[in-house]
Symmetry: C2
Subunit: 181 residues, 2 copies
Amino acid sequence: MKVTVLRLGHRHARDKRISTHVGLTARAFGASELVFDVKDTHVVDSIERITKDWGGCFTVSYTPNWRKYVSDFNGERIHLTMYGLNVNDVMKKVDSKKDKLVIIGGQKVPSEIYKMVDFNIAIGNQPHSEVAALAVFLDRLQAGKELGGKFHGKKNIIPQAHGKKVVEDKINRGINNLTGK
Amino acid sequence: MKVTVLRLGHRHARDKRISTHVGLTARAFGASELVFDVKDTHVVDSIERITKDWGGCFTVSYTPNWRKYVSDFNGERIHLTMYGLNVNDVMKKVDSKKDKLVIIGGQKVPSEIYKMVDFNIAIGNQPHSEVAALAVFLDRLQAGKELGGKFHGKKNIIPQAHGKKVVEDKINRGINNLTGK
């Protein structure tokens, strides 16, 4: 199952950090690709810089026509919205084998999207955050396995009970450097 | 089990929307209280406006001394950090009956926090978002039950497969008004 995230309605003035968090969350929770319908090179650069250091195969792209992108998608289309069916009730109907397009908007999304998708799913029917919704949906979809994935980056964390430890693989120098504090 | 979220290191210029998302996520995922170590009335107002309309018992407050606040907390102290032990490995050790203080920082948190808590838990050992980390931790902690909670607000959503429906309880006029589109 390949997961693509479509972020609708990014606003340059307000959404830079939220959209960056959306991208980093998509990557860390096992999605392969993030697609925007609005170009913002600052956000793309921030996400790609993390991928360069921390690894994994994650791409960020742009579509000039999100309606066509959604229509043409070959797999299940899922819109995360607080108005949808509660994830606790509907998750069992989602096919964990088919490729997924997970669509998240900001405060306003075009109303036609509700009819274009296979599922409108609410990560609880309360207002909160598209970042939170995306994370919990991807966690439920993959039953937590995504959080054990290997990214094989230049930087890798060695989990610690009470501290920080990062292994930096300095490829150009051909050495491993263990740093911690 | 009562859950309090402590948000460390909010920055006025950069973090208004992220901290607002933290607050709304804490509320929607069953926490009772959000505590900041930095005052920002704009963020507090945004969160309280949502609580006023959508219900629930959720408070936002400020502590001038987060070290004392953490030390004095009566319950389990959990710091969410990508450097910690992976949630998939450590969650079984967390006591689902004791009150919880869930601590989230921004990019930089004081290093002493790692020693002050009972658990440093990583929602995956990759960089992503404190909003995502908080949501997934609270979802795992409460086994998803928090997303079925009732908030008894002025506004309540009637979950829909393909549309929006909100019941507005207009208390002052003593009527229920069903709106949808």
